[in-house]
């Protein structure tokens, strides 16, 4: 399958997920619950790093609520704290001070084990560089998402195959990442993020390594699964075209967050 064809499949998938792809710029998400239940609640989050004996403040007191089911885009200059904020949301790191609540769970005080468990069950990640394991096939890469080994093998395989099919790559299941195009690799990565049915999907520059046409396919796919599954989607991006698709846009500069 050529890249163009893959793209076409992607568009088709996205079309299935959303009845009108051209209307996707609409900031209203039909499935986003309007209730008061926040997915994330960040209070006075400060994160400082020590780099070469210099203290760098990446987040300077961020207070933020993200309701469940919201699609949020985070923009801002390089070094503004976007990635650090995503790490806080993704339970990859703990803040220097302040609290990060994921649902009822306080990620700022959780141990390594609890953070890993939260990542394994509730959070799906999509990376700019796709970050697939080069030695594993597409299907096997998707299977790595079952992090704690509690899911039996047969079910893992079945769900991985289903996830690949949902991103339009069923027939590429046995291909290694190197045999796939960038867009296809990102689809595998999205399947990997979704296969464990997380409540949150975090994407770090998901289209940063893709050309424009592929970028739109991937965004259609992400937006489609967001609508379909009602999960909370946070996208860090430089690209305004990507950010415009979100319900809510945040700007992060100098460690401070502002709504756009």
């Amino acid at each position: 399958m050529s890249r163009a064809e893959a793209g076409a499949t992607g568009v088709a998938d996205a079309t299935r997920a959303s009845s009108s792809p051209s209307d996707q710029h609409s900031p209203t998400a039909p499935h986003a619950p309007e209730g008061p239940r926040p997915m994330y609640r960040l209070t006075d989050v400060v994160k400082t790093y020590t780099q070469k004996k210099k203290t760098v403040t990446a987040l300077a007191g961020v207070t933020l609520e993200i309701p469940a089911g919201q699609m949020v885009a985070i923009q801002g200059p390089t070094g503004g704290g976007k990635s650090t904020l995503l790490q806080m949301l993704g339970a990859l790191d703990r803040p220097t001070s302040g609290t990060v609540l994921l649902g009822e769970k306080d990620l700022s005080r959780a141990g390594d084990h609890a953070l890993a468990a939260a990542r394994g069950r509730e959070i799906g990640f999509v990376f700019q560089g796709f970050n697939l394991i080069p030695t594993l096939t597409a299907a096997e890469n998707v299977e790595t998402a079952f992090a704690d080994g509690s899911v039996p093998r047969d079910e893992r395989r079945r769900r991985a195959a289903a996830a690949l099919e949902s991103v339009g790559l069923a027939e590429r299941a046995d291909h290694l990442p190197a045999e796939l195009s960038g867009g296809q690799q990102q689809r595998v990565a999205i399947a990997r993020a979704l296969v464990k049915e997380p409540t949150v999907l975090l994407a770090d520059e998901p289209t940063g390594s893709l050309d424009e046409a592929t970028r739109d396919e991937i965004m259609d796919l992400l937006e489609g699964v967001w609508r379909e599954r009602g999960l909370t989607l946070v996208i860090v991006t430089h690209d305004s075209a990507v950010a415009k698709r979100a319900e809510r846009r945040l700007h992060l500069k100098g460690g401070q967050v502002t709504e756009i």
Binding site: L92, D93, R119, G120, F127, G129, I133, P134, L136, T144
Partner: protein
């Protein structure tokens, strides 16, 4: 998932896997070969020792012979008076058979045995008397002709049987019929042993080849048991008669060493009391063989015995092992020093290579491990994955190493290098000397111009030392399951070490690295 991932990673890094496996294989093969050869050498050593000292002997007690005294003297003497021998056809036949303490062996009072048995920790003890039977037989020319004829010493040209010309060409006769002489000097070792001792002593390590061994009824009788090698060389079997110290002994049995490669301690075995009587060493013994009550108390037993017997030399089996000399002991030294160090160094090097490769592999896979952490893999699972990879690399190396090592052992056994071992049977001054007479018949045949009228001359000093039992042993390297398991265990350990270090490095990576790394 674990195995799929593991297999793919190792397959993808085949070159690295092969290098690590080769390193491990080399180390493991060396360990197996070195240990196998060491065990082979040890077996050879113990079979030499067993053949000399018997099975179950923990301690032997001897006494140092003082130079110049009987038994410790430099040589033996055969004295013939002018009337000795029988003269016939112009030749004089002389023969003499003496039994005396073996070279370098000091005898001491038999009461030592009772002293030894009185020491705590002695389970069994038996006394032996090591003797040497020397027989001298020869043909001399009829010296009386030469002196009566007064015709000088011109070499004769007649033959011994040509009696008609005997008067014209003196001296004639002798071994070559031309006035020459011929001597046979035959020496063999005689061990006087306690016929009731079956727990410890020289005859406990033998198998009966023919006839019977001693029973309690044999005490005091003129009966002899032969070593098979000696029986063959002397052409004797059960029922034959052997003259020892001028007394005729009946051969009642033939014994062989349990080790096919080694001879038994002595050429012949006779009852201790008979040996004492025939040799004139009444109440004397030369060694006491002791079995300790507990193998772990041999060293303390040694000091107790030394305290009880201040004049005696008390040797443990390990002391005796060091008395094994020859190429066997050279091999032993080589194997235990060079071989062990070499395998240790190679093992360390192989492990270091494995560690370095694993750590650099983890470094290159930072993003991979960060990603896996970001999607929820625990540190334990990542460590397990990395350790698993190293472990399998070690295992592959171990299996290949075992195969190469076994091949090496097969090659060594096919070549079967012969090692010669000399076990000093006595710590006396004569022992350890060069040129031991290997077990038996020394023949000195010499044409000698004997001065006329010197019929009553002295015999030569035959100073051959019988104090060493020299044995040639083909090195057989044993293969034991335990050494294979140890070798594979070492490979696994090396792999685990690499995996533990690599896994630790991987688990220390911050998951945020995955997000930082730009594709």
């Amino acid at each position: 998932m674990f195995f799929t991932y593991l297999r793919r990673e190792l397959g993808n890094r085949r070159k690295q896997t092969v290098v690590i496996a080769i390193g491990m294989a080399l180390a493991i093969a060396l360990v197996i070969i070195v240990n196998g050869v060491a065990a082979g050498v040890r077996n050879a050593q113990s079979s030499v020792l067993e053949s000399v000292y018997g099975v179950g002997t923990d301690v032997t007690i001897t006494q140092t012979a003082e130079p110049g005294t009987d038994g410790g003297g430099p040589g033996q003497q055969f004295s013939f008076g002018s009337g000795d021998g029988s003269t016939e056809d112009g030749s004089t036949e002389v023969s003499q058979n003496t039994l005396s303490a073996a070279r370098g062996t000091a005898t001491f009072d038999a009461s030592t045995l009772a002293t030894v048995e009185g020491v705590d920790g002695v389970s069994a003890a038996t006394a032996t008397l090591s003797l040497q039977n020397s027989s001298f037989s020869g043909t001399l020319p009829d010296f009386s002709q030469g002196s009566s004829g007064g015709a000088g010493t011109a070499p004769g040209s007649g033959t011994g049987t040509d009696t008609g010309t005997a008067q014209q060409a003196p001296p004639t006769g002798g071994a070559d019929g031309a006035g020459g002489s011929s001597f046979d000097v035959d020496q063999f070792a005689v061990e006087g042993i306690d016929v009731t001792a079956d727990a410890v002593g020289p005859l406990t390590s033998v198998t009966l080849a023919d006839g019977r061994t001693f029973t309690a009824d044999d005490a005091g009788k003129d009966v002899v048991v032969l070593d098979q090698a000696y029986a063959t060389s002397a052409d004797l079997t059960t029922g034959d008669t052997l003259t020892i110290g001028g007394t005729d002994f009946t051969v009642i049995g033939v014994v062989a060493s349990t080790s096919s490669d080694a001879a038994t301690a002595s050429d012949t075995y006779v009852p201790l009391d008979t040996a004492q009587t025939v040799s004139g060493l009444t109440g004397q013994i030369s060694s006491v063989y002791v079995t300790a009550a507990s193998a772990s108390e041999v060293d303390s037993l040694k000091s107790d015995l030394e305290a009880a017997l201040p004049d005696a030399t008390v040797s443990t089996q390990s002391d005796l092992a060091s008395s094994v000399s020859g190429s066997l002991s050279t091999a032993s030294g080589l194997v235990s020093n060079l071989g062990t160090w070499l395998s240790v160094i190679v093992l360390i090097a192989a492990s270091a290579i494995a560690v370095l490769f694993t750590v650099s592999g983890v470094g290159r896979r930072t993003r991979e491990f960060g990603t896996l952490k970001a999607i929820g893999w625990s540190n334990a699972r990542i460590t397990r994955q990395v350790a698993g990879e190293s472990l399998v690399q070690g295992l592959i190396g171990g299996v290949v190493g075992v195969a190469v090592g076994l091949l090496g052992i097969v090659v060594v056994n096919a070549i079967a290098p012969t090692l010669s071992a000399s076990a000093a049977t006595s710590s006396g001054p004569g022992a350890g000397g060069p040129g031991g007479m290997p077990g038996g018949a020394a023949t000195a045949a010499a044409g000698s111009a004997v001065e006329g009228g010197a019929a009553a001359g002295t015999g030569g000093g035959f100073g051959q030392q019988m104090a060493q039992a020299t044995t040639d042993i083909a090195l057989h390297v044993p293969v034991t399951l335990s050494i294979i398991l140890v070798a594979v265990g070492l490979a696994v350990l090396g792999g685990l070490l690499a995996g533990a270090i690599g896994g630790w490095r991987a688990s220390r990576l911050r998951p945020a690295e995955a997000l930082r790394s730009v594709a």
